[in-house]
Subunit: 502 residues, 2 copies
Amino acid sequence: MSLKESYNKLTSLIEETLLIGTIQNILNWDFETYMPPKGVEQRAKQFAYLAKVAHEKTTDPIIGNLLKTIMEHPEYRTLTDIEKRNLYLIKREYDKETRVPSELVAEIAAQSAKTIQVWKEAKKEKNYLLYKPELNKILALTKKRAHYINPNLEPFDVLLDEFEPGMTSDIITKLFNELKAGLIPLIEKCITSSNQPDISLLKRNCPIEIQKRLSTSIASIVNYDLERGSIDETEHPFTTGYYDDVRITTHYYENDFVDSFYSVMHEAGHALYEQNLNRDFLYTSVGNYCSLGIHESQSRFIENILGRSPEFWEYYLPIFKKITGEIFSDVKTHSLVHALNRVIPSKIRVTADEVTYCLHIIIRFEIERDLLTGKISVDELPSVWNRKYKDYLGVDIEDNTEGVMQDTHWAGGAFGYFPTYALGNIYNAQMLNAMLKDLSNFKELIKTGQLSPIINWMIEKVHKPANMYDPPELMKRITGEEINPKYFIQYLEKKYSKIYGF
Amino acid sequence: MSLKESYNKLTSLIEETLLIGTIQNILNWDFETYMPPKGVEQRAKQFAYLAKVAHEKTTDPIIGNLLKTIMEHPEYRTLTDIEKRNLYLIKREYDKETRVPSELVAEIAAQSAKTIQVWKEAKKEKNYLLYKPELNKILALTKKRAHYINPNLEPFDVLLDEFEPGMTSDIITKLFNELKAGLIPLIEKCITSSNQPDISLLKRNCPIEIQKRLSTSIASIVNYDLERGSIDETEHPFTTGYYDDVRITTHYYENDFVDSFYSVMHEAGHALYEQNLNRDFLYTSVGNYCSLGIHESQSRFIENILGRSPEFWEYYLPIFKKITGEIFSDVKTHSLVHALNRVIPSKIRVTADEVTYCLHIIIRFEIERDLLTGKISVDELPSVWNRKYKDYLGVDIEDNTEGVMQDTHWAGGAFGYFPTYALGNIYNAQMLNAMLKDLSNFKELIKTGQLSPIINWMIEKVHKPANMYDPPELMKRITGEEINPKYFIQYLEKKYSKIYGF
């Protein structure tokens, strides 16, 4: 086989694994939306079968042989940068997947399902002691897996790298310390301000049919293509799919239109990224998204930087009032924007505001980093958790279900995943700073509802490069700088000093 | 490997191919229901990939080797009847799939797509000449495929056997001739009767929300389990799925509640069969349905024998009126039943009544049988078609779009498939005759809405045996007799003489 033939053979094998991924997406979407309730058993068999096939395909020795042939080929250097990046990504995945024994993969899948189940029960019974032994088991298995992948690195760094390639706990610690230093005084200013919003207007009854019309309206305003997507209902909102078929979900509550409104914006941000990946790279490794942090930067850009900005509401409020009729006819832009941006320290991450949110993430990061090095034990978790919530956010956790047991992530073995949520904010504010140099009329564009130049900037700078670069390199190419949390602090200070008037 | 090990290895390979089938079902259902319109390209890739994997798996030489090992094993006779039937079915499928060259499979897939596309255009343009050459091509390829499968049989018999194992064109000719002889005079009596129904009441406006409530109501009355199923909307109604996840679809028209009402009953009949297959046989060859004819017997039993019976409406009319409110409050059982059972010769098969329907099928059968032996050519098709419609149904076809071009089946290469529609009627009336011996209070049960004993009889006699026997053997076990169309004629004569009063 010539170099070209080997390369084509390899990428056609990878295309099949990516196609299996898109099939898994649809089955999972169906599972969460329309599957009959008792279809679970059959779906579990389908999932298990596809997971087995996907694992066999990604660890097939043919891939290893082809990689070796290609990389040792005398004409290797004649390949394009895109081809070389593809090979790098294929090798990274292959090495990782082949290093972990199949038995351990199966053991982790089983233990993770078990721990999640026990977590649910323990949360219902408010009993951390019930959860603890299972959490210990999944933690041990996760560390074991990390050791297989790379015995020379700290387990936390191995896990983090899977979600955010190029990131280390040292870098994150530095970034998050800066963030913390900026956030704590800002939160203090907001919560001690005498100028507090009236949030009762957010709880006005808004019929679900109207909320659905709002969903379609904002989806189309941010250019989410509904001919290549859909908005359905699930318990927890999510985005799934790839390029021509990217679906989002939301949840409607009559007395909380904010929930569906911003979950649609958030998920539409994720969906935009997938819908605008580089057509030339489709079904190749380089044609995937870059990292979870970059993905989150896109969802939060749409949700917060655009969607919660005063400028957006200057444009959108008339449309909003037209759709909602009498319900909000008396509402003024400033009061609505202030209510939507109220800063208030709380116990629950998922409902936290834009400013305090990152502190929730920092707490989780600090704890999981220390859990994985063994600096703290699962026994000490609740006390460490509660102390940090008191220190950073000033809130008292009286009940572990509102504390360490609030999230499912650790039960599922997802250690090293949380930091990507805060990285998304750091990234998107830094992107915004770069964007402002190209689009100096940024605020004017939003005020007049001309979002396309903004979205198109993101498409060119973030979506189209897809997975050509790891996050640090991508950020450097977009912004000309190293990753720097100061832009996020500056963005928040500017926005909130204006809203709160300090 | 021991005999048992070989057998288990073989059945685990087959289980995987059946699981792929269930995944294809979901993707196809999604394609017809909720897929975003521009998701077509990605879905085509997924379909092609799964079809390729399924073909590779069903023709894997390992299956052939295992079959040989097992069937030549000295202890073969120690296997159970179920295991032997499984082996027989696996071998039948394997032999068929391996005899047809992959290139021909691909060629047929491509030509069938082409012919369907041209058929659509030609139908729109009312131009048979445009369609003719493509129909000729798919016919030639289909004959070629039949020759590969079995060069010693007439191509039509090879094709028929795929849909209805154990059936031949000779048997069908005999059955259909009897049927025709019984139907033609019966139709004459109905259409010349002075007692004709008022069908205008069927066209009363019935809001779609109400029709949806009717759908759920009748689905639950016939024991279709909505916890293992769902009712969604598609252009053409269908049933898809297996055991714990069997979904049906329908189409709602404001001025034609009959359409959705009986399509739900029809599809629920199909769904009942799939939901009640033998749990012990799941994901094995013997755990599938028996044949398309037997499947159709189940859908038509629910739709016609139950759903269009005077007894059903004696029970259901009050419920129907409660759901539909004022719309049908003045309607009497007899007038509604008569309207729902109006006999009228027509040109279009899919909207034909219970009595004339079989003549449409007989015409198609006679033509495709003669097409495949070469007795008639594609050139002569329209004239032969139109003559038969005049002879059997007394209608004049002036336009091929209402004649030979009305159905998509032949364009898709589905020759030998039509007879199963009429066989379904022959089977279900014969089943009914056997059922009456066990449930002498059959009519009373329906009148009082106690459908469970009736459905349970079908479950025990038809659904649970699944694919243990080919249709002729299954019918003999259920009814103690050879397949006999006289029961269908008798059923029709009894029912329609009462309704029309002759």
